[in-house]
């Protein structure tokens, strides 16, 4: 197993692979830009396009202590066929569960094309020894996960021990091999946009396939400005190295309107290339039904009662 480059405490970023200068983020201006983009008016066909995309990009999530095989089985069925009354509605991208439920999810999604994502590395806090976190990540892959959503060690990050954060991501990446790695920054604990940018670049440098905003366990999560800051980091890396890193806002996106606003942000920051489930996901538990409701409204011109959409 290759070792991560030895880095002193308090370093900024490894030079290899070459990354854009870290730079900084202006809070007022980034919030103004996000607010501006949120006022785009997306109607009719353009809206249907976005809603269909949102379904295909969704990581349908349940991360509760009370999760059971029954609950996850229901979620998997919903993921494969979100709206049984409308065959044109695509499957979602993945179901996202705790390690103990990976096998159930795996069996239930079968060969439908829906992926199984598992959280790992002492989710949600990440406050465990590195070897346990690495072992957990390796284990969830053995259990059948296609994608691993790991958390960074915010304690280390906020203490300025960036090397530890970096090193852990590298080790997890190695442990899971080709399996898709999403790195959760938990932006609500990072405190500033500057930190969000630094953590994004650090995670990308360490090998993240995706960067993800939040665990969903905090009230402050995937806001539009935070998403914009992360998209800009991804854009800078792409410009500098040609590498395409994915983005997953998670937590706080509860309705179709927020999903459409987020997609506008992606469209106008990274362009059409990122409008695919390969490079963009929504992590959400309650978003799907609102999107389905809006799709039906766009198609029929009428809102239907929530009783017509299954609760899973």
């Amino acid at each position: 197993m290759a070792q991560a480059p030895a880095l002193p405490t308090g370093f900024e970023l490894p030079l290899e692979p070459r990354l854009p200068r870290i730079g900084s983020v202006d809070q007022v201006a980034v919030e103004a830009r996000a607010a501006d983009l949120s006022r785009r008016s997306i109607k009719r066909e353009a809206k249907l396009f976005a809603l269909d995309l949102a379904v295909r990009m969704m990581d349908l999530t349940t991360l509760e202590g009370a999760d059971t095989p029954g609950k996850v089985a229901a979620l998997a069925s919903k993921a494969i066929r979100p709206d049984p009354s409308d065959a044109s509605i695509p499957s979602v991208a993945a179901v996202c569960v705790y390690p103990n439920l990976v096998q159930t999810a795996r069996e239930r999604v079968g060969d439908s094309g829906v992926k199984v994502a598992s959280v790992a590395t002492a989710f949600p806090s990440g406050q465990s020894p590195t070897d346990l976190k690495v072992a957990e990540a390796r284990r969830v892959v053995e259990l059948g996960a296609d994608e691993v959503d790991m958390v960074i060690d915010r304690g280390a990050f906020l203490a300025g021990r960036y090397a530890k954060v970096y090193d852990e991501i590298v080790q997890v990446k190695e442990a899971i091999g080709e399996t898709h790695l999403k790195v959760i920054l938990e932006v609500g604990e990072l405190g500033t946009y500057d930190n969000v940018r630094r953590a994004s670049l650090l995670a990308i440098a360490a090998g993240a396939d995706f960067i993800k905003t939040s665990t969903g366990k905090l009230s402050s999560s995937a806001t539009l400005p935070v998403t914009l800051v992360m998209l800009e980091a991804i854009r800078d890396v792409f410009e500098e190295t040609g590498r395409r890193v994915g983005m997953k806002p998670a937590g706080g996106i509860r309705n179709a309107k927020q999903a459409v606003q987020t997609l506008v942000l992606v469209h106008e920051t990274l362009g059409l290339d990122w409008l695919t489930p390969d490079l963009f996901r929504f992590g959400a538990s309650s978003l799907l039904n609102d999107v389905l409701m809006q799709i039906r409204k766009e198609k029929t011109g009428r809102y239907q009662s929530s009783d017509y959409f299954t609760i899973d």
């Binding site: 201006a29 353009a46 995309l53």
Partner: protein, 498 residues
């Protein structure tokens, strides 16, 4: 074979996502076929008997016939204002004046959609801007000065402020209603009466504003609005007014100043600019790019304080220009009434020709031009957002005010050089500084010869903040407590130590 076919595990990316058109409805605006001049609280036919047609610059469609007021109309308006001044407005309780200003502010808020649509229709600016910037700020100005109306003694302690009399006000076409608010609100708060001439190409929001004045039951004659071209303006300058406030070109400003020399009439001028927007290499880059875009493409660059000269530290030049060019490809140019439009129509054919002429000069002088791919509507007046790089300080596009969506990029090496280049212009209205370093912001602000300096933002306005120029950008301040002063006489001596 496309990339997608080679990678069967990949989901194809969409080839386009076109936002559908989202036009704001015009229904809310009712236009008259022909307007009169607003004198003594009534629309009256102009004595001149002349009219001209005002257009929608995005389609060249005729909107209405507007009076070309002559000297006689101007004189009638001024005497209506004089009468109103002497018959009560100057002697009214200050709180009474505040009451009317508050009413106007509230009515503007209530009717903001109607005004926003009209402003975009007649001026070509995107509805997004008229809705989110022009209207809220116009109402805010009336609210702000309403608050001062009964506190003038506190604004200028021991100086016994008194109103001047009749103020003649001439405003430009770039922010028709907002400039009206900047002029009328402080004048009325200070106890003056007003004769205002809106710009020739954009009279409609001022004429609709007359309806607001009636709704607010403002006493007749306190505000009079006369329309017409430069001749009407010249007549107003010559008329029996006590003060002229002018916002517009430096050329006309100079002519007004010559005309008024020795007459005892007071004068404030808010003229052109060629502002430096200065980008240091430690700035927040993506946000600076937004600031640059907002600085020069906001309102099609028809902004006297536009950040039209971009000064970039050489060490950050390449990534910044790359980011800027990419950002320009996402600007949406088109129908001003579409809610997704970022850049609207050029205000008039005359202005379009001026922009075209200066851009041609820039190319000829050797600057490198960049314009994003852009489909422009066939009818109407349009200009693609443009960036010139490799611009030398001596080029016309670095010296002259273009007043259009055209940015000239220059570089600098050190803060001293940035200050030197920024100040090397006859103008001095505004400047922008982008750096994460607070001490450098203060250092720059002390040295830049500009009336307004924005740090890590651009084109941000607030009624409480004074606005005005150095050098050939004019004199006098609008906004804030400073904005009251040009509308007041002071006969009390400045007391020392209170």
């Amino acid at each position: 074979m496309s990339e997608i076919e080679q990678r069967p595990d990949r989901t194809p990316v969409p080839s386009k996502w076109e936002y559908e058109s989202a036009p704001e409805s015009r229904e809310i605006v009712t236009l008259e076929e022909r307007y009169g001049v607003f004198v003594g609280g009534e629309f009256v036919e102009p004595r001149s008997g002349e009219y001209y047609t005002t257009l929608d610059p995005s389609s060249e469609e005729s909107l209405a016939e507007i009076p070309q007021a002559g000297a006689e109309d101007v004189a009638l308006a001024v005497s209506a204002a004089r009468e109103a001044f002497e018959d009560g407005w100057s002697a009214a309780a200050p709180a009474e004046r505040a009451k009317y200003l508050y009413r106007i502010a509230r009515i503007l808020q209530e009717r903001s959609r109607e005004f926003a649509v009209l402003e975009s229709l007649n001026g070509g600016k995107p509805i997004r801007e008229s809705r989110d910037v022009d209207l809220p700020l116009a109402a805010a100005h009336f609210f702000y000065y309403a608050g001062w109306a009964d506190k003038l003694e506190y604004a200028f302690p021991h100086r016994r402020p008194t109103p001047l009399g009749v103020a003649g006000q001439i405003i430009p076409w770039n922010f028709p209603l907002l400039m009206l608010a900047w002029k009328i609100a402080p004048a009325l708060a200070a106890g003056n009466t007003v004769v205002l001439k809106p710009a020739e190409t954009t009279p409609l929001s001022a004429l609709l504003f007359c309806d607001v004045l009636r709704q607010a039951e403002l006493p007749p004659g306190v505000v009079n609005i006369i329309t017409g071209d430069g001749r009407t303006g010249a007549a107003l300058v010559k008329a029996e007014v006590d003060k002229i406030a002018f916002t517009g070109s430096t050329e006309v400003g100079k002519a007004i100043q010559r005309e008024l020399a020795g007459t005892g009439k007071k004068l404030t001028l808010e003229l052109g600019g060629k502002a430096a927007n200065i980008i240091f290499d430690d700035c927040a880059l993506d946000q600076a790019v937004e600031g640059i875009v907002n600085g020069i493409y906001f309102n099609q660059g028809h902004v006297c304080c536009a950040g039209s000269r971009l000064l970039v530290q050489e060490s950050i030049y390449e990534p910044l220009i790359e980011k800027l060019k990419r950002r320009l490809t996402t600007l949406r140019v088109g129908d001003p009434l579409d809610k997704n439009t970022d850049v609207g129509a050029i205000n008039s054919r005359q202005q379009l020709e001026k922009i075209q002429e200066l851009v041609a000069a820039g190319k000829e002088e050797g600057a490198e031009i960049y314009q994003p791919p852009c489909r422009l509507p066939e009818k109407g007046y349009w200009f693609v957002p443009t960036v010139f790089t490799n611009v030398a300080q001596s080029y016309r596009i670095a010296q002259e005010e273009i007043f259009g969506p055209v940015l000239s990029v220059l570089t600098f090496r050190t803060p001293d050089e940035a200050v030197e280049k920024a100040n090397n212009t006859p103008y001095g209205l505004s400047a922008g500084v982008w750096t994460e370093k607070g001490s450098r912001i203060l250092w720059m602000a002390q040295r830049l010869e500009a009336g307004v300096i924005w740090a890590n933002t651009y084109n941000r306005f607030d009624p409480a903040s004074p606005f005005g120029g150095y050098k050939e950008s004019g004199f006098g301040r609008e906004g804030g407590r400073h904005g009251l002063e040009p509308y007041l006489d002071f006969d009390g001596a400045e007391a020392s130590g209170g």
